[in-house]
Symmetry: C2
Subunit: 282 residues, 2 copies
């Protein structure tokens, strides 16, 4: 664990850095970061975090994130991108956002590679209840850290992952019989949890179809929706602690499966629930 004082910002904050564009309020410029590179593009969770970050940085922001949907429309290529976040409607205590990530193609035309929507809200204390309790699992310290990433998958190095069950199969022999993973996760270099990192961590699970079939097939998230159940103050309290993530497939059919996921604080607070639909081949 990295505990020395850091001269440069945390890699996640480097990747999350956006500068205002000259175009208009809500237009930002950013760059893909090598630390969060996946196999053929950036880690999708990072793109989701960036779409949300543009909202969080917008001068007209009302409240805190409640819902985020990010659609991965085309591969994000290495280098600079533009993010536009616009409030579509602002009410008394809720605000609805539309976002787009764009890049120039080889011919210099600006193309949309990601569309997204978000809901932010001023939350008030109400009655509450958790109907999806955290599974009973061993403490993070009792679970071995996952250390072998496929070569070239940089973003995996940015997370401390301790799979409790449903780890990446060691043998790809078609023997899979379920699609549930339970895993402790947090930033490898300590960083206090916030909405952007929670959005990213909602996408840390490897494709359910690999587990279900114990077979590697091409797969990629097409759309992810995350609901935030905690306030920024609660996330700050979680601090640099581990989150328990649980992900399971529901239906695999004709090239697409869905994944239902939950993320709890170590203390058992359900911080986020997240769903995604994933393309797969064969």
């Amino acid at each position: 664990m990295h505990t020395a004082p850091m001269a440069s910002p945390h890699p996640f904050d480097q990747a999350l850095a956006l500068r205002h564009s000259d175009l208009a309020s809500g237009h930002f410029i950013g760059s893909t970061h090598p630390a969060y590179w996946n196999m053929v593009g950036p880690f999708g969770g990072m793109t989701a975090a960036l779409a949300l970050q543009a909202v969080l940085r917008h001068p007209e922001l009302l409240g805190e994130p409640v819902a985020l949907t990010v659609n991965f429309a085309a591969a994000v290529t290495e280098g600079e991108f533009e993010i536009v976040a616009q409030p579509a409607r602002t009410n008394r205590s809720t605000q609805h956002w539309t976002m787009e990530v764009r890049q120039r193609d080889a011919e210099g035309r600006m193309q949309v590679n990601t569309t997204a929507t978000a809901v932010t809200a001023v939350r008030r204390q109400t009655w509450g209840e958790n109907d999806c309790p955290m599974p009973e699992v061993p403490a993070p310290q009792a679970v071995e850290r996952f250390s072998i990433g496929p070569k070239g998958v940089a973003w995996l190095e940015q997370y401390e992952m301790r799979p409790v069950s449903g780890a990446l199969p060691r043998v790809w022999d078609g023997s899979g019989h379920h699609s549930e993973t339970r895993i402790w996760v947090r930033d490898a270099a300590p960083r206090t949890l916030d909405f952007a990192s929670l959005a990213a961590m909602s996408d840390v699970f490897y494709p359910r179809v690999w587990l279900r079939r114990a077979t590697v097939v091409p797969a990629g998230t097409v759309s992810i929706t995350t609901y935030f159940h905690a306030t920024g103050a609660q996330l700050e309290q979680v601090g640099t602690g581990h989150l328990l993530g649980r992900a399971t497939g529901q239906q695999f059919a004709n090239g697409y499966f869905d994944q239902s996921a939950q993320l709890w604080s170590e203390g058992g607070t359900l911080l986020a629930t997240s769903n995604q639909i994933v393309y797969y081949k064969e």
Copy 2:
């Protein structure tokens, strides 16, 4: 059950009717329909169906719906509305859409009341598996039909609903202890299932917070995401049969809860999975 030949279109098709606007391709005009009116606006499932219908009617449509997210940004008022559906990105076998529903306010300004995104795709036969089997429940014929809607809630009359468990509480005494409903549902007047009606039926569940608390509090869906796991041909095969819907809350906190839902054909095929985040008071 209505079995006589119908002189006029099915109420759902009447409500779903869109005419092309003169503005541009992908601009449509529609009107709220009294048969799908809820308490202070149209049934949200109908608005979701309409957002999807604008995509399905678009001349550039590629494939069939895979994902739909609809954000209820402001109340839809009675009367005419405009829907704009635009393909944000078209790939070889997938297409990403953004949609908006707009109405003129009292001052005549066009205002967005609904934002939405969709993914459509040409689906190919692949390996498949259902990891979320249909619960064992009595056949629809063995379950009593729910017939008493709160006065003035027209849309409830449009569905034949047979709650297996987790029905609307009869006594509002704060005694609730779970948030799961299982219900047989189909159009009250027979209509062959399609993507638009499946999108609508994904939103037929009453607010989980009412069941969980056995208390009526103000509540309303803020955002819904539905994943479609079947092809149009499969939906047509389901025809006018019952669907089993299951909905449960996961987390209730600070004014918002999420609902996780599944819809199976009577034969046990998981046709759609749907999640929503719902505002509630107190």
